[in-house]
Amino acid sequence: MADVTFTVDGKKLTAPAGTLLIEACRKAGIEIPAFCYYPGLSLQAACRMCVVRQEKVPKLQTACTTTVAEGQVFVTESPEIAQARKATLQLLLGNHPLDCPVCDAGGECELQDMTFKYGAGESLYAEAKQHRDEQQWSPAVFFDRPRCILCYRCVRMCGEGMDVWALGVQNRGVSSVIAPNGEDHLDCEECGMCIDVCPVGALTSGSYRYKTRPWEMNHVSTICTHCGDGCKVTLGVRQSHEGTDLVRGDNRDKSGINGDFLCAKGRFGFDFVNSEERLARPLVRNASGRLEPTTWENALRVAAAKLKEVRDSRGGDSIAVLGSNRTTNEENYLLQKLARTVLRTNNIDHVRTADYATFARSLAGQEHKAASLRDAGNAPAILLVGGNPTEEHPLLAWQLRSNVRLNKARLYVVNHRTIKLERQAKAVQGVPPNGYRDLTALLDRNEGDLAKAVMAEESLLLIFGQEYRGEQMEALVSWGLKRGNVRFAYLGDHSNSRGAADMGVLPDLLPGYVSVNAPGAFAEEYAGMPAAPGKTAPEFLEMAQSGQLGALVVVGENPAQRLGWAPDALRKTFLVVQDLFLTETALQADVVFPAASLYEKTGTITNTFGDVQLAKKAADRPGVRPDFEILVRLADAMGADVKALVPFGKRGMRADFGQSRGAQSGEADRHAVWLASHGLEPKLSPFDPLAVLDEIERLVPAYKLDRLNLFAGNDVPTEPAFVPVSALTQPRADLVNPAHDGLFTSGTLGRYSAYLREIEEHQAHQLAETAAD
């Protein structure tokens, strides 16, 4: 809409006609208090805190419902307005318990803040306040009725925002009360969004309540370690005798890719970090065959010696490396580099949750075709094929719902089963489980409501699930490319599955999906790596069983569980495991290194949309080390040139490898040159993962990152278009093994979250009850 000019407190402001006054003011730095108004949720005008005076209008107006028009004049602060707000606060405080000293929201309470501002300190009322016991509605949600000021944010967030509709308002007048759908309990997705939007301490979280005071915590913004969406999460960290405790997960600054949103896993599933079962010391299998705690020096020595021995006696081919879907890009990059340059093997793989290699191959050379997760919140038309975002990509589901609700976006759903997002869809097309193959033909024939509507769209965001792999995906992408004005996104599990693939934790592909036997920046610098593609994860098992696998290094993965490897399959293999817990796989290991979780280290991770974000170290845990550091120390103990592995120190790495003549001569240190040209300082520690990030940017084509934004805590997109087409080989679609983790599960990690387990039990109980009815 056209811009209009109006006056607020004597200042001329401009905003599109029809903008809500409260929003226009906030953008101009004029804060108008409000309880019930919440951006993106339906308007209520119920709390009456936002009252302002509009010229020529007899009554005070609510800024949350007033839309701006040309020439209007407003006053937002005056004695009259302050009095109105003060009186409203006095009314609220008349019944509100003054238990701020023990209330979870104390210090983070909008009612406190406003009382402070408008000075409604004295009580007008002689009547006793009504006390009511707190209720537990679910493992996640507690409700303290007297504290509730009935702003209805929770009701709207649950219904409009989450499409769960588990909260309502019952009774009327002063008896009005927020009520859960199970009468005395909640039956919902446990996302905790209601707690998040509650302006006071009426809704509190089971995981945080009565644990600490907000000002006793440090608040660190990092990235969630669970699903492939990569929400920004703020962790509340408190010092403790153990180093630090993570006491809270929330989404305070709302600045992330996830805006307002966080799901149950992001909000509550951080507690695995504090688990009693965390490994705190390295373990080495002793002479009697039992795992025994030891020192880092000893564990490193044992592991390094054996790995070196296997490599030198049986060749790098007899060693294999299994990487992780949750470690950082820097760690993944370092891991493959260690495998290829130190262990001298291409036998490196991870448990692939999606066929990212084919995705990269399909989009290679096609600029601006890869979608960011943000696009899901803005695109005018979205075609969602396969997948089940509500369960497996909660943030994506949120973005799609919000986009449909707030921007009138059109969502089209094609799926082989009924998914919840159909409720937002403009058209739905069912297909048989193996029927995705025919989708492009169906669209091209322009038959049926969905096809007709989709074909009529000017642009399309095409999001597809793990149902798509290999040729089928290539066919779908090439259909989209032909059609034009289509962007693509591919849905895989886990917080850094995409990063693992991007970083070349694959037997046949180097970082950036460059074939191991094709020339490229990485291969050029690290000449002498094995040129033949290595073995895949399932082949590791075969090698182990036939005695060909001398050693296996597993980082942050649990193949015994995830790939169903038999407990004794690795008997003849020297097994090194880096993990947080003594998993089924770690139990088989010869050496176990206690690793830090994502919340205890810094590095970048890439969500399934290819958005890169910076995870920041929030907590400390005695005894554990980041996988990055473990790998560096292991290499060092093996006698490798650490400086070649991690370009740290005043000079990075030497890249000319003896070339002393011709055009290249004198270009002694490409890394140093690159750093200088990018205005970056050399990193001084071998344990600084950002040194490797520098190298990733330099050598991985898709990772030309906007650093300023990245370090400011924003998500920055990668560009698969920069992957050289010529270098690509046919990926192995058959190895894809999706995890399909739901709202409360998160692989092995999730099993160590007491909180997620509790929620799961609650859900199972709920289900059993409904079934019994």
């Binding site: 019952q170 009774n171 009520a179």
Partner: protein, 173 residues
């Protein structure tokens, strides 16, 4: 539940179920039938039991929470049984000025129950209510839906007798 199933499994009498089937067709939007349905269901069953709420929610495609949210707003709807004859005494201003409190006190005395009380035999319940739209014929009461107006405390025994006889004629309860 499919519609057919819900029909056969209805907890309402066939006549009421048929009435509901017709009611939902009357409005541009089905949900408009909600409040009448709840009131008529209460007339038949006595109160909004969990089963009533479940069936109404099902018939209108609403969640039970939604039905409860609406039901709990309206003061005539209740979630617990009342007496067979619910005596509602208006004590609002016009009635108050003409002796409604004396009337209410007399009902309390005669019945031995107070506001929202039910007599042990379940025949009567008593309620003090807001204005019932009979101000010019005050004081007035409603027994279920029947109005009785221009009353005095002395009218109480006669009114109670009248309903006791009706209760007896209908087999005790």
């Amino acid at each position: 539940m499919t519609p057919r199933e819900s029909e056969t499994m209805s907890i309402f009498s066939p006549a009421l179920a048929a009435r509901f089937d017709a009611l939902v067709e009357k409005y541009p939007v089905k949900r408009s039938a909600l409040i009448p349905m709840m009131l008529y269901a209460q007339d038949e069953i006595g109160y909004l039991s969990d089963a009533v709420i479940a069936e109404i929610a099902d018939r209108l495609g609403l969640t039970e929470l939604d039905v409860r949210n609406v039901a709990s707003y309206y003061s005539m709807l209740r979630f617990k049984p009342a007496g067979r004859f619910n005596i509602q005494v208006c004590t609002n201003i016009s009635c108050m000025l003409r002796g409604a409190y004396d009337l209410f006190d007399r009902f309390q005395e005669e019945l031995g129950v107070g506001h929202k009380g039910i007599t042990p035999d379940g025949v009567f319940s008593l309620e003090e209510v807001e204005c019932i739209g009979a101000c010019c014929w005050a004081p007035a009461i409603q027994v279920n839906y029947d109005f009785h107006d221009e009353l005095a405390a002395d009218s109480v025994p006669g009114i109670l007798q009248q309903y006791r006889e009706r209760a007896a004629a209908n087999g005790g309860r």
